[in-house]
């Protein structure tokens, strides 16, 4: 089967699903809608698997399948054509998107059984997958941008899915607007790149960038540097980094599978994927890399602190996503492109798992999201709690699980890379510790400990269609780590399992040059991080299971700090106060003075003038026959006099 | 130009003669006392019933209109009649006859229609 057919099916299957469901919005039959959507995603999953297999079969050097459908825009030198490419990086991404997507589709069939608009939901979900595939497979920045926007749209549609609820609709709006700000940055970045290289294809961009980098360091005002900064702003918008992260916690207003798919596995990783895609371009601008690393580290630490004080299960997971993304950007910032991709994949598995788990918990608890009203769900929901525990172990980085390998690799690169710095490593480790603390806190309050479930609700295990994806994701979050075992660990393991992922991605990515250190240093660093994680985990366990009064004492010890953190550092209020409200006031003022008084007045004057002329000529027609004859006579006389005079 | 003078002379002559006669009768006749009876219109001696606005039949003006139209069609025939002899001698007698045939046909149609539509039916 030739490539273009495969690509076509891969891309068009979700579209077909979208159209099928889209045209029957009002239909309440969720089974049919869900089935069709899942089948569509299944088909594209199979296509992507086939593609990856073909890719693997190709020789290592030129591992890329390129397909060109038609040249989309061809204007005086600038041409962007609808062409797609699958190479090592995008292979992983499409597998993750379609794979995780498929599982989430299956999960949401059960989840959306009570909803009255299932087909609309599935239509949006399919559209989202299509756009995500566009973003990932596009061979030039413009196609990526189209996907970028599409994804933003779908996230808005899905977050505000229950738009009847004012607050949820506002959350959708907020997500969309913040994304738009990021997209603006992304667009500027594309322009700068075009200005610099007059092409927007990734392959040519990367080669040109490396030649440019070879010719010496670039100043701050160099277009390439500016491009990187703007692109990074775009990435922040999409992947919720420091300035533009505010939308992600509120995005929890959407259905949980949405959060799982969009705000854990795929969309939020788009920023990371973009930077990894343009790794050589970023390598040419080291100063931007440091900015990214610093922002990534801060976001990781900062989000983790907020995560500790939250009571809503989904909010905790949201902040944990923000902090994990912070780790990925930290990795990318220090040049650890391969570990960042690795962490991205593993994070996709265990975060999707946890979200779905929380989904089934909420589903079981009758839409109750406050963990203070949960507890001891282990007995009521064995499968969910078991798989959730696997995810917990992965995320805090217990050795042997996927989270450990990827996060540790990033921390090692932070320490070892010339780009990185010791302080960043320390921040990273502290972040990891706090992650361990709030995740354990979550586990204690939800699954272990005493049951604080109110009388009305009786938690029960979710049906098979919801638990099956949980199991698969559980296995993946464990197994996912083994394909990218760092060499230092593989050295001591029997059989020296090779770093498959590393070899796979190595030709396509740039890598930071690490300072040579002995294995001992690496082991010791690993030891420190594991011990920090263990201590904070134990501390959380004791605080929330054994002696439950510790949290109150901490709160009383630092009341103001706790209040501040609880209210998410009043970031939202800051934004509203400083930016949004003044903007509204200005526009209201403009409306009153300029529009109402000036522009309207003008139009009224014009219309009155025309009306008066109309009335003037109207009076000419008074039915008197002779008057008409007189007008004719006058006309003739005037005309003749002109002829004679002229 | 000469004929115009002759016509004008003739018309003035006749008009003067007429005026002379009318003037003569007025002057020579006995002086008349205008009495209401004399002024009233002569109705064979029967008392005059002035019936106000007389119902004038519209038929007459229709005759006049049809007269105008058919008169013009006749007048269109005069130049044809005059030049028909020469047309024949010059050789295009046939075409002229044909053209005139069409014209006369239209005339006949008008006539037939007018007869059939009983436009000139006198009560």
């Amino acid at each position: 089967m030739n490539d273009s057919f495969l690509f076509a099916v891969l891309l068009l299957a979700p579209i077909f699903g979208f159209l099928f469901n889209g045209l029957r919005f009002k239909n309440k039959n969720y089974k049919l809608a869900g089935a069709v959507a899942s089948v569509a995603i299944g088909v594209s999953f199979i296509c992507s698997v086939v593609l990856v297999i073909k890719l693997v079969a190709m020789p290592e050097a030129s591992r890329a399948i390129h397909v060109h459908f038609y040249n989309w825009i061809e204007v005086a030198g600038f041409n962007a054509n609808a062409a797609f490419v699958v190479d090592q990086i995008s292979a992983i991404m499409i597998l993750v998107i379609t794979g995780v997507g498929l599982l989430i589709h299956i999960f949401s069939i059960g989840y959306m059984s009570h909803d009255d608009r299932p087909s609309k939901y599935f239509a949006y979900l399919n559209l989202f997958i299509f756009n995500m595939l566009l973003l990932v497979l596009g061979d030039n920045l413009l196609i990526m941008f189209v996907g970028w926007e599409g994804v933003g749209l779908c996230s808005y549609l899905l977050i505000g899915f229950w738009f009847t609820d004012q607050e949820k609709a506002a959350a959708g709006m907020k997500a969309f607007i913040v994304n738009r700000i990021g997209d603006a940055g992304f667009l500027l970045g594309i322009f700068f790149l075009y200005v610099q290289f007059s092409t927007i294809e990734f392959s040519s961009l990367n080669t040109l960038a490396t030649d440019l980098a070879a010719s010496g360091p670039l100043g701050w005002s160099h277009p390439l540097v500016l491009a990187c900064i703007c692109l990074f702003v775009g990435a922040c918008g999409k992947s919720a980094q420091i300035p533009l992260y505010v939308w992600l916690p509120d995005a929890m207003a959407g259905p949980t599978p949405v959060s799982a798919l969009i705000h854990a596995a795929t969309m939020v990783t788009a920023g990371v994927y973009m930077i990894v895609r343009l790794s050589f371009v970023y390598m040419a601008a080291p100063q931007v890399m440091t900015i990214i690393a610093v922002v990534g580290g801060l976001t990781a630490f900062f989000a983790a602190t907020i995560g500790m004080t939250q009571w809503d299960i989904k909010k905790i997971l949201a902040y944990s996503t923000v902090s994990q993304l912070g780790y990925m950007f930290l990795g990318v910032g220090v040049g650890a492109f391969m570990p960042a991709m690795f962490h991205l994949m593993t994070h996709a598995f265990f975060k999707a798992l946890m979200f779905l788990g929380s989904g089934s918990v909420i589903h079981a608890m009758g839409e109750e999201q406050d963990i203070r009203k949960m507890g001891a769900l282990k007995k009521a929901m064995p499968i969910t709690s078991a798989t959730f525990t696997l995810g917990w172990l992965a995320i805090i980085g217990v050795p042997g699980f996927s989270g450990f390998f990827s996060k540790d690799e990033i921390l090692w690169f932070t320490y070892a890379s010339t780009q990185g710095s010791k302080w960043l490593w320390v921040v990273g480790v502290l972040g990891a510790g706090m992650t361990a603390f709030y995740m354990t806190r979550l586990m204690c309050l939800v699954f272990w400990g005493k049951s604080r479930v109110p009388e009305g609700t009786h938690p029960h295990e979710s049906p098979a269609s919801m638990t099956f994806p949980l199991i698969v994701l559980g296995v993946l979050s464990v197994v996912g780590g083994w394909i990218g075992i760092p060499h230092v660990i593989s050295a001591i393991l029997p059989g020296h399992p090779p770093n498959i992922l590393g070899h796979w991605l190595e030709p396509a990515l740039a890598t930071a040059n690490l300072i040579t250190t002995s294995a001992v240093v690496e082991w010791s660093l690993m030891g420190i991080s594991v011990s920090v994680v263990a201590i904070s985990g134990y501390f959380a366990y004791t605080a929330y299971i054994v002696k439950t009064d510790i949290p109150e004492k901490c709160v009383k010890a630092f009341p103001r700090l706790h209040g501040l953190v609880l209210n998410k550092y009043l970031i939202d209020e800051l934004y509203f106060g400083r930016i949004i409200n003044p903007l509204i006031d200005i526009s209201k003022g403009l409306w009153v003075y300029v529009d109402v008084n000036f522009v309207d007045k003008l139009t009224y004057i014009a219309s009155d003038f025309v009306k008066s002329i109309g009335r003037l000529f109207g009076s000419l027609q008074n039915g008197n026959l002779q008057q008409y004859a007189m007008y004719i006579a006058i006309g003739v006389v005037v005309m003749l006099s002109f002829i004679l005079m002229g | 130009m000469a004929s115009v003078i002759a016509i004008v002379f003739l018309i003035t002559l006749i008009a003067l003669f007429g005026i002379f006669l009318v003037w003569g009768t007025a002057k020579l006749g006995p002086k008349i006392k205008q009495s209401s009876l004399k002024k009233s219109s002569y109705e064979c001696g029967i008392e005059v019933q002035q019936s106000g606005h007389t119902k004038v039949p519209v038929k007459f003006y229709l005759t006049a209109i049809l007269f105008i139209l058919f008169d013009i069609e006749i007048i269109f025939m005069y130049p044809w009649a005059i030049s028909f002899g020469d047309a024949i001698t010059n050789g295009y007698g046939a075409q002229v006859l044909a053209a005139m045939g069409v014209f006369i046909l239209v005339f006949i149609i008008g006539l037939l229609w007018e007869m059939k539509s009983k436009a000139l039916e006198w009560e």
């Binding site: 109207g618 009076s619 027609q621 008074n622 039915g623 008197n624 026959l625 002779q626 004859a629 007189m630 006579a633 | 519209v58 003006y61 209109i65 105008i68 139209l69 013009i72 269109f76 130049p79």
Partner: protein, 107 residues
């Protein structure tokens, strides 16, 4: 002093006469209120035009002018016929022939 130009009747004299009659006809149409007199005004204007036609045709020795007069007469007669037929129908309806009677077609 009868200048020779005035005595010798040229084309312009006839055109002058026709112009005068035309204007009088026009004024009749414009000024008189009685519909039938307006139609007479039209007849006057048409006759003035006929005079110009014949004047030009006889001064330029070209028969086209006369043929045109011939046709103008036919059309003028047809027009008068229809005009008066309409006048009669109007008279039947409005009982009076003054044009101020039928001014319904106004904005």
């Amino acid at each position: 002093m009868l200048s020779s130009e005035l005595l010798h009747i040229g084309l312009n004299h006839y055109l002058g006469l026709s112009a005068v009659i035309f204007v009088i006809g026009m004024l009749t149409v414009l000024l008189r209120r009685n519909l039938i007199v307006m139609l007479m005004g039209v007849e006057l204007m048409l006759n003035a035009v006929n005079i110009t036609f014949v004047a030009f045709s006889s001064f330029n020795q070209n028969m086209n002018g006369q043929v045109m007069v011939f046709f103008v007469m036919a059309i003028a007669a047809a027009e008068a016929a229809v005009g008066l037929a309409l006048a009669v129908t109007i008279f039947k309806h409005y009982k009076e022939i003054d044009i101020s009677a039928f001014e319904q077609l106004k904005s």
